[in-house]
Amino acid sequence: MSTLQHFGKGALRVAKNYTKGYSDTQAKVRDATSNDPWGPSGTQMNEVAQMTYNQNDFVEIMEMLDKRLNDKGKNWRHVFKSLTLLDYLLHAGSENVVIYFRDNLYIIKTLKEFQYVDEYGKDLGANVRQKAKDITNLLQDEGRLREERRTRAHMRDRMVGRSP
């Protein structure tokens, strides 16, 4: 696919954000989990993670993430990148993300058998299946998740020069 085509798609996404009345927050999530064959970038994910600490933004982010996670096979990148973003949010986002996805674990768990084979017979579902498996394991291992969240917070504090 040419870059130009993706540029076109990006423009379309901007238009859709506008016509469908998505908020800035939702547009950010949509950008981070788009069909572009790259990303989401660290900056994008971090931005969304910080927004999860605001209750209004949190609700909007979960709503959009839910939509993307339940997208159809052809849009496997939506699903895959939503899982990537979710993984990041579980580590660096607000505790509410963890609570929400523990409650709705089945959304992730049932993606362990996600299937999509493209017109050339290439299995593109494998990425989604692996990621769904990893995140399910993480969500079910309370101790590990807590530890990883602590380490992450530590690292962030050190990088901005705050003492722990």
Binding site: M62, E63, D66, N70, K72, G73, Y100, D103, N104, Y106, I107, K109, T110, L111, K112, E113, F114, Q115, D123, A126
Partner: protein
């Protein structure tokens, strides 16, 4: 009560369509995306009544492939749906029996025998769950259930025997499925019935392993456990063979990781944890 952003009316309508598509007459696997929607529905609304009603109103009994696909779908929803699904399934045994009764003996595509065996298995599974409601649909390992059985050795012995009974039934059913493969066809529909069987047998195997280990640790009379050890060992070899045969089915390995068991059964006197899930 779903915390997800959902719309009940829309969900009900979609459920009907998903059931219909999962059980369509094409001789393929029931599409996972449709099965998944059924599973997710039971969690969203803590109910499976609409799922069962949806199945009943579909005209699937006239077609052997549709009936078989419906049974695969039922099995998967029982495994991964909200726990209420298993409770509510006890009221559906009549419908399941009808599935087995309606299908002829010599069916053109050879699903008749498989359908009857599948119904037998699902009914056995439901009987087990009725007796032991603390197990979930995939027999996923949870520490407290193991310990509960260990405190009362007689109870523990019975639980393990019952689990082994179910394991034997899975084994004979999977053999039957393999025996019904056809050279002319791609067998996708038959293979897709092996997916929930691999998962379930693995859950049971893990459970039995960790429970037997816990019992060996607690008791001083390991001789009393000899019959269980012997049976465990023979089930290990059967399961190993089953997984080996599954690992040669490309279609199946593209869907799930098939566990690989060691040459010999694990040592039950060992202090090790339960084997890892694939």
């Amino acid at each position: 009560y779903p915390t997800r952003p959902v719309d009940k009316e829309k969900a009900e309508q979609e459920l009907v369509i998903n059931i219909k598509k999962a059980t369509n007459p094409d001789e393929t696997a029931p599409k996972q995306k449709h099965v998944r929607k059924c599973i997710v529905y039971t969690w969203d609304y803590h109910s499976s009544i609409s799922f069962w009603t949806g199945l009943r109103v579909q005209p699937i009994l006239a077609d052997e492939v549709q009936t078989f696909k419906a049974l695969i779908t039922v099995h998967k929803v029982l495994q991964e749906g909200h726990p209420i699904t298993i409770k509510e399934a006890h009221g559906q045994t009549g419908w399941l029996e009808t599935c087995a009764r309606t299908v002829g003996h010599e069916t053109p595509r050879g699903y008749g025998t498989l359908i009857r065996a599948y119904v037998q298995y699902i009914l056995a599974k439901l009987r087990f769950h009725r007796l032991r409601p603390e197990f979930n649909g995939l027999f996923e390992y949870e520490e407290y259930v193991t310990l509960k059985g260990v405190d009362d050795p007689n109870e523990g012995y019975e639980i393990i025997s019952d689990l082994m009974g179910l394991q034997d039934q899975i084994d004979s059913f999977q053999r039957m499925i393999f025996a019904h493969f056809r050279h002319s066809a791609n067998n996708e529909c038959r293979i897709s019935a092996l997916v929930p069987l691999v998962k379930e047998s693995w859950g049971i195997y893990r459970f039995i392993t960790s429970m037997l280990r816990a019992m060996h640790r607690r008791t001083t009379d390991t001789d009393a456990l000899e019959p269980l050890r012997t049976r465990f060992s023979s089930q290990h070899y059967n399961l190993r063979k089953f997984y080996y045969e599954c690992s040669n089915l490309k279609y199946l390995t593209s869907l799930i990781n098939v566990p690989k068991l060691g040459q010999d059964p694990p040592n039950l006197m060992d202090k090790g944890a339960a084997p890892d899930l694939p």
